[in-house]
């Protein structure tokens, strides 16, 4: 499992490969916060290659979204498969995040 950080113009895109769970959530948090400290303000987390997310993974996304908003930025989520969308819907986190069907759609207007 790994997190691939790339830049699309002024947007930082983090692709989650494998799973986002209690054992690796701090790695994602650290990578995004490093970019935030470096002045980046626009973020997309791409779940196209993600198998599953647990509550700790959901929690770190909530935390990051809050920290990014506090700095005047925005975090969007992209490419959630049906299973992952189910988790966001069950927890009502779909009301908290802007969720796009694809990375390209998430980048639009960001």
């Amino acid at each position: 499992m790994a997190f691939q950080v790339t830049k699309e113009n002024d947007v930082t895109v983090v692709a989650v490969e494998g799973q986002l769970i209690v054992g690796n959530r701090q790695e994602l948090k650290q990578k995004v916060l490093e970019e935030l400290e470096n002045g980046e303000r626009k973020f997309v987390v791409d779940f196209d290659q993600t198998g599953y997310i647990d509550s700790s993974g959901l929690g770190v996304l909530v935390s990051l979204s809050k920290k990014i908003r506090e700095q005047g930025g925005e975090l969007r989520l992209a490419s959630l498969n049906e299973d992952l969308r189910t988790l966001f819907e069950l927890t009502k986190l779909d009301t908290l995040f802007k969720i796009s069907d694809s990375r390209a759609e998430a980048l639009k207007g960001l």
Binding site: G23, Y52, D54, G59, V62, K66, L87, L90, T91
Partner: protein
């Protein structure tokens, strides 16, 4: 057919992903592929192990977590036991209220109860039993929630 599997893990959250993958591999070998197994059981088991290590055993590296899994026909039962003093599972706030949805934690037990058909705690509160029932209709393309809390 009845399959039993027992694992003892060190109290290290880095072992959770590998342990869940191993249990899933064994369960998948016993049951037909089903999305309810892939998502509901996988997430439920991850949550139970996470709770056991972080809260039950309070991140104490000297403690251990025991996993017991029984696959009997289309029913999978997993019992996860930690070495902590336990907690009151009935005293857990609803994480989906407007006030709680913005919080970073408190979704683990809710997800277990939402995704599994049965979630039972022992009296002490240091052992949780998860039950997933796979039906003939649980073919790829369906995702089901279990009993709500």
């Amino acid at each position: 057919m009845k399959t039993e599997l027992v694992l003892e893990l060190p109290n290290d959250i880095r072992t959770i992903g590998h342990a869940v993958d191993y249990v899933m591999e064994r369960c998948t070998a016993c049951c037909e592929h089903a999305r309810k197994l892939d998502l509901n059981f996988r997430v439920g088991l991850t949550e139970a192990l996470s709770n056991a290590m972080l809260y039950g055993n309070a991140e104490d590296p000297a403690k251990r977590v025991r996993i017991e899994v029984v696959v009997a026909g289309s029913e999978i039962t997993a019992r996860i036991t930690d070495e902590g003093t336990g907690f009151d599972p009935d005293n857990v706030p609803d994480p989906t209220t407007p006030a709680n949805v913005v919080k970073t934690g408190g979704r683990g037990i809710f997800l277990m109860r939402s995704l599994l058909d049965e979630v039972r705690f022992n009296e002490q509160g240091n052992s949780v039993t998860l039950v997933l029932r796979l039906e003939q209709s649980d073919s790829p393309g369906e995702v089901e929630g279990g009993a709500q809390a």
